[in-house]
């Protein structure tokens, strides 16, 4: 079949795009300025990797990896601690039964992190107070109250404190006493970021407590008193 070349709209229908004013067509083309990978990126990588090796070598020369006596199943050290990155979990084990601290909470954390990109709340870059927020804040307040009650019941102060601090910071712009500058700054933060702030502060606080502040029988010790190791 021959290609019909004509400007007669009746013979060849034209495709028309309708663009509404509220939904303007987005320019998806990437027109950012680009530079050559060789040498601009490669030289940065080489310098970075050399810096890493030098830093690692210096640390390895100054600090020796720990080596204690040979493994002895009949002699349990007190406290027996997991590696530092699991001490947050071990700290939770102090408050909750093993199935909660060792299985349920870590599983929830991993699932929660995996599904992040599949929930709309995480895809928004709009601040919490830049859209209708009163109902969401009421719902969150109720949620925090329930969680806090559970944390108080189990005496989990290291989780309760960051929970309340982050929630207080988040709800500050809703209060009339909040200074205008602070309000502007906090109102821009999306809800997803608040949740991550909370998660990171809980993880860091639990890990630091488990690593530095726990001694024999998982009792509280001060690191400068030389109890924790």
């Amino acid at each position: 079949m021959d290609l019909v070349k004509t400007s007669d709209a009746k013979a060849v229908p034209k495709r028309i795009a309708l663009i509404r004013r509220e939904a303007p067509a987005r320019l998806l083309e990437d027109r950012e300025e680009t530079w050559m990978t060789a040498p601009h990126l490669l030289i940065r990588e080489v310098i970075l990797f050399q810096a890493c090796v030098i830093a690692l070598a210096i640390v390895s020369l100054v600090f020796d990896a720990p080596l204690e006596g040979i493994a002895d199943p009949s002699h349990t050290p007190n406290p027996a601690k997991a590696p530092w990155y699991f001490l947050g979990l071990q700290e939770l084990l102090h408050y909750f039964p093993p199935i909660v601290a060792g299985i349920l909470l870590p599983a929830l954390a991993v699932i929660g992190i995996v599904v992040i990109p599949y929930f709309r709340i995480n895809l928004e870059v709009v601040g919490f107070y830049e859209r209708p927020w009163r109902r969401s804040l009421a719902f969150l307040t109720a949620l925090v109250a329930v969680v806090s009650a559970i944390l108080v019941a189990y005496h989990v102060w290291p989780v309760l404190v960051p929970t309340l601090v982050v929630f207080a910071a988040m709800s500050l712009p809703a209060l009339p006493v909040c200074p205008e500058g602070v309000k502007k700054w906090l109102a821009r933060v999306p809800l997803a970021d608040w949740i991550m702030h909370w998660f990171v502060s809980v993880v860091v606080i639990l890990t630091v407590i488990g690593t530095l502040f726990r001694g024999p029988g998982w009792s509280w010790v001060w690191p400068w008193a030389g109890g924790a190791h």
Partner: protein, 249 residues
Amino acid sequence: MEFMKTVTGNRLWRSIVRHGVVATNRNRVMMVMESLFLHLHSTKVRRRNLEASSHYYLGGISGFLFCVLTMTGLYLMLYYHPSVPQAYQDMKELSFAVSNGVFLRNMHRWAAHAMVLAVFLHMLRVFYHKAYRPPREFNWVVGVVLLLLTLLLSYTGYLLPWDQLAFWGVSVGTNMVQATPFAGKDLRFLLLGGNIVGENALLRFYVLHCVILPLALAFGVGIHLWRVRKDGGVQGSRGTTRPEPGKGE
């Protein structure tokens, strides 16, 4: 310079590196495209992504630490027997008899800790820059798997020195596994090759640490980097900037 021309101009050199060495843009493109190692990169990068604040190089640092760990790890394997009590004697041997043995072990140990930290920070960077948004959702999931593999690698390596620290660290961890509903005891048995942290556990952790997990991680990193390219390159800090109405994102 005449000498360099002789080296880079002869048939042997040109059979290995086909493109020329003159600094033309064509040769720079060829240099990246024709190298197995460099072709992980695109031939051009966004200028914004050359700034460290765009990504702090955390993915690169993680990957680089993995290379350091592989190399020091292979070297350590030459001096290590995964058996009780020889494993611990090997640590002593490494400290007192092997040239630079302490340095080697230190490097492996600190790089492992650094990698756990770097991977975690990389995840936070990607989160706060909203770099997981479509089309990069799946690569975020791959990244979480890589984080878990990193933790497992570090943890399985923790047992290998067979000292008190290793033994009780792993005992505490595997006791937590036991709390899994229904399959807890079986899972622990599978992991330890028995009911106690003993010789079988050491061998299992050794195989996991030196073969299974590194292979899984290398495979995962391959997918991760492939997807970075297929999903449109490193996003950098672009995700946090808000699209203005009517303008391109």
